[in-house]
Amino acid sequence: MELLSIEGTPKTPTVTMNPNTGVIEIKGRSIPENSIEFYKTIIDWIDEYSKSPQPNTVVNIQFEYFNTSSSKCILDVFKKFEMLKKNKADVVINWYYEEDDEDMLEAGEDYESIIKVPFKMIQIVD
C-alpha cells in the first residue's frame, strides 16, 4: 500500500498518510464549497489501510479553519477510525488547536463526544 501525500492549497489541507508507520496527518485549512470530492480520496485510503493496519495508528489533526461542508466529511473520516478501533487496532486522535482558540477546541470536543476513539486535545503554544 502506498503513502498518500496531498499538498495543501488555500482551500484544502496538507495530507500525509503513511501505511508503514500508521501516522496520519491532516493539517491546514479545509474550506472548499463542496468537500465530498476532496475527502473521498482520504476515506478510500483509510478503507484500504484498514484491511491490514498497523497495531498503533496515530491521527494528527491540526486545522487552522474548516467550514461546515468539511465538518461532515471530517466526521466520516473519524467514523472510519472508529471502525478500525472496533476491529481491535489501537487508534488515537490528536486534535491540535491554537492557544485560546475556543472554537477549535470545542469543535474537537464535539467530535470526541460522537466518536468512540480516544482524543487528545493539544494546545499549540507559540
Binding site: P10, K11, I31, E33, N34, S35, I36, E64, Y65, N67, T68, S69, S71, K72, L75, E98, D100, D101, D103, E106, D110, S113, I114
Partner: protein
C-alpha cells in the same frame, strides 16, 4: 443592510471564483488591520460560512438582473466588532423554511446550539448542493449573537432576503 465602515462590498453574480478572490483579499486586509488573531479567525470563519451559504442558495429571478446567481455581500467594521451581511432572492417556499430555521436557531441558548449542531452533524445527509445544513447554526455558535434577517417582497414569487451576523471584537 449596511452599517459602519465597509471593508469589502460586492453586488453581482456569486460564483466560486468570486468567493475565493474575496476570501484571499479579506485575509490580507484583516492581517493588515488586526493584531488579535482570534477575532481575525472568527471573522474569517463566519465570512466563509456566510459566502458559501450565499453561493449555495442564490436563486436566479427571471428578467431581474442581467447575470445569473445574483447576490450581494458586505463586510464592515462597526463599533462592536465586525458585521457580515448577505442578500439574495428567495422564492416563497424557501422563505418559510428559512424563516423557521433561523427562528429556531435564534431561540436556542449556547448549550442547545451545541447539541443541535451535533445532532445535524451526525444525522443529516448532505443536500444536493453539497451544503451540510450546518452553516447557519455554525454562524450563530461562533458569533454568540442572534442572526438578523429581513425579507422584502420583490414580486409575487420572490423575496429579497438579507442575513446579518455580528462578530464582537
Amino acid at each position: 443592510m449596511h452599517q459602519g465602515n465597509i471593508i469589502i462590498a460586492y453586488k453581482g453574480s456569486v460564483n466560486a471564483d468570486i468567493i475565493a478572490d474575496t476570501l484571499s483579499l479579506v485575509e490580507v486586509k484583516l492581517n493588515d488591520e488586526m493584531e488579535h488573531s482570534l477575532t481575525r479567525k472568527k471573522v474569517y470563519n463566519v465570512l466563509v460560512e456566510c459566502l458559501q451559504n450565499l453561493f449555495h442558495h442564490v436563486d436566479t429571478v427571471p428578467g431581474f438582473y442581467n447575470e445569473d446567481n445574483f447576490g450581494v455581500f458586505i463586510l464592515s467594521k462597526i463599533d462592536e466588532g465586525f458585521r457580515v451581511s448577505t442578500g439574495n432572492m428567495v422564492n416563497g417556499q424557501k422563505k418559510e423554511i428559512l424563516k423557521q430555521k433561523i427562528d429556531k436557531i435564534n431561540s436556542l441558548d449556547k448549550e442547545e446550539l451545541k447539541e443541535f449542531y451535533k445532532f445535524v452533524l451526525n444525522n443529516q445527509m448532505f443536500s444536493d448542493k453539497g451544503g451540510g445544513g450546518l452553516g447557519l447554526i455554525d454562524i450563530a455558535r461562533k458569533t454568540g449573537n442572534k442572526l438578523e434577517y429581513t425579507f422584502t417582497p420583490f414580486d409575487e414569487s420572490f423575496d429579497f432576503f438579507t442575513l446579518s451576523a455580528t462578530i464582537n471584537d
